[in-house]
């Protein structure tokens, strides 16, 4: 579980995060949504420990990040998996090399143990024949799956995803969403996804927080988002005609 208490973050004069408080529960898929420039990425980077909040605290399973020593922070980082927007796979390594990298770096496992683990996670993300291929030789969807495999290979307690289905076709995007959701439940991890994709919001958003101009404007579940009267949320989520109709149908059905 990750608890966020009154987090503020500024860059020079620009106050990006303005007192965000929330909690991300274990075994749930938590989504951060909001317009570009609302502070989503900065918030995610604060959660990852890449940015330190100017004010406020982030607590990981009862441990306050600001109170941890450098070594403890490093150990905590190893409990985190991250799927970057552009996958961020290492170009010079094969798919197998990318997934094996954290194991090679931080564990003392034998080559065969590492190979077994890599085979297992690649199978889990439905990539069986891509071991020896380089990132440039596989599709965007496959790259995302490799990034997920690399993120979960160390059995993380926390999984962070920055727009995991951006640039993917709708079918592959749903596949990636479902994969993240399944992995979250299967391994009982705390997953936080930063997304613009409303399909993800509807399909896998067990908890959604909506950021606007650095403030937390709203939080709830994907069921509650249909019912909310918050103007900022409805303007953002139901900006397309399709989603307006979906919401209308949902309300009519409920009535």
């Amino acid at each position: 579980m990750i608890e966020v208490e009154n987090v503020h973050k500024s860059f020079g004069e620009h106050h990006v995060l303005k007192g965000i408080s929330t909690a991300f529960e274990k075994g749930k898929t938590n989504l951060i949504i909001g317009q570009s420039g609302s502070g989503k990425t900065v918030f995610l980077k604060c959660l990852l420990g890449l940015f330190e909040p100017d004010e406020g605290q982030i607590c990981y399973n009862g441990q306050y990040y600001s109170e941890l020593s450098i070594k403890e922070r490093r150990n905590l980082r190893q409990e985190m998996g991250m799927v970057f927007q552009g996958s961020a796979l290492f170009d010079s390594m094969t798919v197998e090399g990318n997934v094996m990298f954290p194991l090679d770096m931080f564990t003392n496992q034998s080559k065969s143990e590492m190979q077994d683990r890599v085979d297992f996670v690649l199978k889990r993300v439905n990539l069986i024949d891509a071991h020896k291929k380089f990132p440039a030789e596989i599709s965007g969807g496959m790259q995302k799956r490799v990034a997920i495999a690399r993120a979960i290979v160390m059995n993380p307690k926390y999984l962070f995803c920055d727009e995991p289905n951006s640039g993917l076709d709708p079918k592959t995007a749903i596949l990636i969403d479902n994969l993240i959701h399944e992995i979250t439940q299967e391994y009982d991890i705390t997953t936080v996804i930063n997304t613009h994709d409303m399909n993800s919001v509807m399909e896998i958003g067990e908890k959604i927080i909506f950021l606007k101009n650095g403030f937390k404007e709203w939080e709830g579940t994907n069921k509650e988002i249909f019912k909310t009267d918050n103007q900022a949320v409805t303007d953002f989520v139901y900006s397309s005609e399709l989603f307006k109709k979906v919401r209308q149908m949902y309300i009519e059905e409920r009535n």
Binding site: L50, R77, G86, A88, D91, M105
Partner: protein
């Protein structure tokens, strides 16, 4: 008086002040980067393979161009020296002597380093810069890897092999001089070799190697700095490579002056 006032005004103007502060900030950031490179080392088996890979890329990968340039530079130095020694009272062996001194003291260590700043330096900046743009460095940091140690340290160790490249450059440069002298008809082989052996001071070779080790450090770290801290996209990677070449060359020239004054002055 007017000119003086305007010069002072320009010196104190906010734009100039900001620019100077920016340079000072960059210098400070560079030294902090160097400090970070040596902290929290990567596991030795991984580091060993990275170092071997970098030796292959940075040293052996550059040998072709070093040999090619050194050979012709040696030849040109010989021809120019020969053409300037018109007096019949000056022995032809001076051509060999001048070639040896020029190649060992300056051309092999400094000229080759400037070429390396272009070839190896721009490779380092663009490869690290691309990793920054594509979030690969962020990925390393998130995993808890000291990205500076992982990326820059193997390059520093690999470039410590640079004196080997300089030694090859010295040999090939002098060989180029001999070929130009003998086959160009500027000096007989015996005279040229006699000149090569004349008043040989082995400290000059030591001086060249000391210089080349310092230059190697500059070639590994200045381009890494420009790549690691770059911001933007593909266009900025190109700009960072150019800037890194300029600054690496400037630092090499300054360090060359300082070391020459300290070691030979």
């Amino acid at each position: 008086m007017k000119v003086k006032c305007s010069t002072i005004f320009l010196f104190l103007s906010p734009q100039v002040h900001n620019k100077r502060m920016k340079y000072l900030e960059a210098i400070g950031k560079y030294f902090i980067m160097i400090w970070e490179v040596f902290k929290k080392p990567t596991k030795w088996p991984i580091m060993r393979s990275l170092i071997l890979k970098e030796i292959d890329e940075l040293i052996f990968g550059a040998m072709g161009i070093i040999i090619f340039i050194s050979f012709f530079i040696g030849g040109v130095v010989t021809i120019q020296t020969a053409l300037n020694l018109n007096s019949p009272f000056l022995p032809k062996s001076l051509i060999g002597f001048a070639t040896r001194q020029s190649v060992i003291l300056e051309f092999a260590p400094t000229f080759t380093s400037i070429i390396m700043a272009g070839k190896v330096g721009s490779y380092i900046t663009s490869s690290i810069g691309t990793m920054r743009v594509t979030e690969q460095i962020d990925a390393l940091e998130v995993m808890g890897v000291n990205s500076l140690n992982y990326l820059v340290f193997p390059k520093i160790i690999a470039t410590m092999m640079y004196p080997f490249a300089v030694a090859v450059s010295m040999f090939v440069g002098i060989l180029g001089g001999w070929v130009a002298a003998v086959f160009g008809g500027y000096a007989p082989s015996g005279e040229f070799i006699k000149g090569l052996q004349m008043d040989f001071d082995s400290f000059h070779v030591t001086y060249a190697f000391i210089k080349s080790i310092v230059f190697a450090f500059v070639i590994a770290t200045v381009p890494s700095f420009h790549g690691y801290y770059m911001k933007g996209g593909a266009l900025e990677v190109g700009k960072a490579s150019t800037t890194s070449f300029v600054w690496t060359s400037v630092v090499i020239i300054i360090v060359n002056y300082v070391l020459t004054q300290l070691l030979l002055g």
